[in-house]
Symmetry: D2
Subunit: 115 residues, 4 copies
């Protein structure tokens, strides 16, 4: 298993070789993330939740590429703020664990504000 | 630097303890990603691209949490299809490198379809 | 039934009284639309398609407000380009009718590119 | 100026001729709106807010079609709940006027929660 940082370095090198950092202000990167999330969602449109578990090979390939794109833009945004994405994820898991204690949240899809 | 897989295992454990996999079909996860991407984008609304580089401490904290949320949903979706996210990212970088060769793409924000 | 233009004039007057046109460049308005669409979608998250037909009174109220917000931003964007929204809708219906002829599209959720 | 209801009736007739109401549960319609909003936003990606005011003829045509699509999905969702969109917009303008009184909001892009 390769370390995350190695991949993120590749993503940043890809950008630097193309001199694209000038276009990658956070506002545009956040837009790019929204656009990619929309493209991901398109693979599930007009499907039931059940049908969404059984994609065609072509749709699945499409989904994989969108997930990769989203990860790439996450990396650019993290780089912008010199933040370590995994550290933030660790913190968020702790926040979520406090919001959604197992005894209240187990088997429920309610938002924490309704506990 | 912690390995990515370790964090992803924590994210999946968090879910399993709460018995939430039943709600996490791909259609709903893709919706969640779109919603989180919108919440991220809200931090940049009514700002210029220049202003987006200078967030307040509160906005920056908000952005960090949204990035973490997006990563968490990426992990759930990857788990659904038993895909290794980093492998897909590696493949996507190769695809993008072919679409955007350095000599054509350097310093340009044009889409590859216009080359 | 009130005419559309009357409402759109109210929306623009609301803005002018607050001197907000300066913030309403199309890029920011398009972001606002994406953000509102995400807030609308949040009302359906973790629901099945069947459940989405039976919202609580509170959720329904929320949906109504999001639909209104989306309409308001549609109006601002139309104003920016001095376009008549209904004329564009008429044109789009004609385009869609050509893409999705009744004999091919009836009862099918396939995209026109697969006909 | 044609009345809004006339256009909305055309949109609903278009759907009925194709027997598409079966796919148009609110969850899927809300997804469609998010996807279209993302496609609209794509026209502004990597642009500054200033550049967004000067689209090419092709981009502008694209924007018009996305605005029409969004309006069409707004109509389908309104129909689902038998709501009159313009009535909701009137109510929302009143809500916004209370949240953003002219003396506090004039010339400011702050959110009402910060007043």
């Amino acid at each position: 298993m390769e370390k995350l940082r190695t991949i993120q370095d590749k993503i940043i090198s890809f950008r630097n070789e193309r001199d694209w950092a000038q276009f990658h202000d956070p506002k545009n990167l956040a837009e790019a993330l929204s656009i990619e999330a929309g493209e991901l969602l398109e693979n599930y449109l007009w499907k039931t939740t059940e049908q969404s578990r059984n994609l065609s090979a072509e749709e699945l390939q499409n989904v994989k590429e969108e997930l990769a794109d989203i990860f790439i833009f996450l990396t650019y945004l993290s780089e912008e703020y010199s933040i370590d994405l995994l550290t933030e994820v660790e913190k968020k898991i702790a926040v979520n664990a406090a919001k959604y204690p197992v005894d209240k949240a187990k088997g429920s899809n309610k938002k924490y504000t309704s506990f």
